[in-house]
Subunit: 136 residues, 3 copies
């Protein structure tokens, strides 16, 4: 995960990375305090990405459609998350399994991103995250 291909990587204190073998990182990535990267389902982060403190990225989801089995014993789905390049993810953001985020996106603090952001260079925010405006 960390090597010649990840120059200028910054990882602050209390960062939690699970299944890091499924994490692919670009260059100039910053991961701030208390970020959770749950990489079981696969997580790819491009170049020049800043992830602010207390943000979580989740790559798995419980199934819950079987009424006769406790949810916690139903299968886990692995849904990779792909974060493009030149992206700023604000503080306390949650990005759910299966989401793709286009290059140049700003994700406002506190957003819960439940669907992919397909258009480049936008600002998104809210719960669930919606388009707020273009970046320029």
């Amino acid at each position: 995960m960390i090597g010649k291909k990840t120059p200028n990587l910054i990882v602050r204190a209390d960062v939690n990375i699970s299944s890091s073998r499924n994490l692919k990182l670009g260059r100039d990535v910053s991961i701030n305090h208390s970020v959770f990267l749950l990489c079981e389902g696969g997580l790819e982060i491009g170049d020049f990405v800043s992830i602010a403190h207390n943000t979580s990225i989740i790559t798995t989801e419980h199934s819950y459609s079987d009424p006769d089995t406790p949810i916690k014993f139903q299968p886990i789905q692995r849904l990779p998350v792909v974060i493009g390049s030149n992206i700023w993810i604000g503080s306390r953001v949650t990005i759910l399994a299966g989401v793709r985020i286009a290059n140049g996106t700003v994700v406002a603090a506190g957003a819960v991103v439940t669907r992919s952001i397909d258009v480049e260079n936008t600002i998104v925010g809210g719960v669930p995250a919606r388009h707020i405006k273009m970046r320029f």
Copy 2:
């Protein structure tokens, strides 16, 4: 709190439980990283419940109706929280004092649950949490 009546309890790192004598747990409960359970007002969790990382459950509330006393010196109300069975509480959820959650509920990541969920087997999410759909 932990004993013969709580088989298969899983508690991950950095979990914060206050007033644990007021916590009643069922079987097969999972409490993930950095969960806060503030049990001063009483917290009951049923069987087969998963609580994902960074979720908080709060069981007290400040009074604030007296204009002449600083809020922080006004009385604390104890309002128990009751979590049923077969429930999945997603990451970074906040459950407020006095809330009851019906059996079979899925609480989506990032939700703030301010009112009881009375109907079983629903999915709720958002701030404040609202009904999204039935589970099946």
Copy 3:
């Protein structure tokens, strides 16, 4: 930061304060577990203020308007935050750079405060935070 002018200060575990030289605190301030105070841009907190666990106050913002420079290399703006007196900030709240909060405000758990709260003695909540009701 801490001295004769900050009587009855309470700071719980896992609190993260950066650039604390830019933090000005009043009396009877409580800062609970896992609160982040990022004071680079200046943070002023009045008297009788309670900040519940897992809340973040942010005082800087990235610029992102230059399409030709990676966001992470664009200038940081310093935007001071001013929290008045007799204020209760709930759990898991995010207060963004440049916000001022009027005396007597209650900020509901999970709120993301993106704009100043100018009217005293109100309750605000949601993402983004909006007026819910008057306190009394």
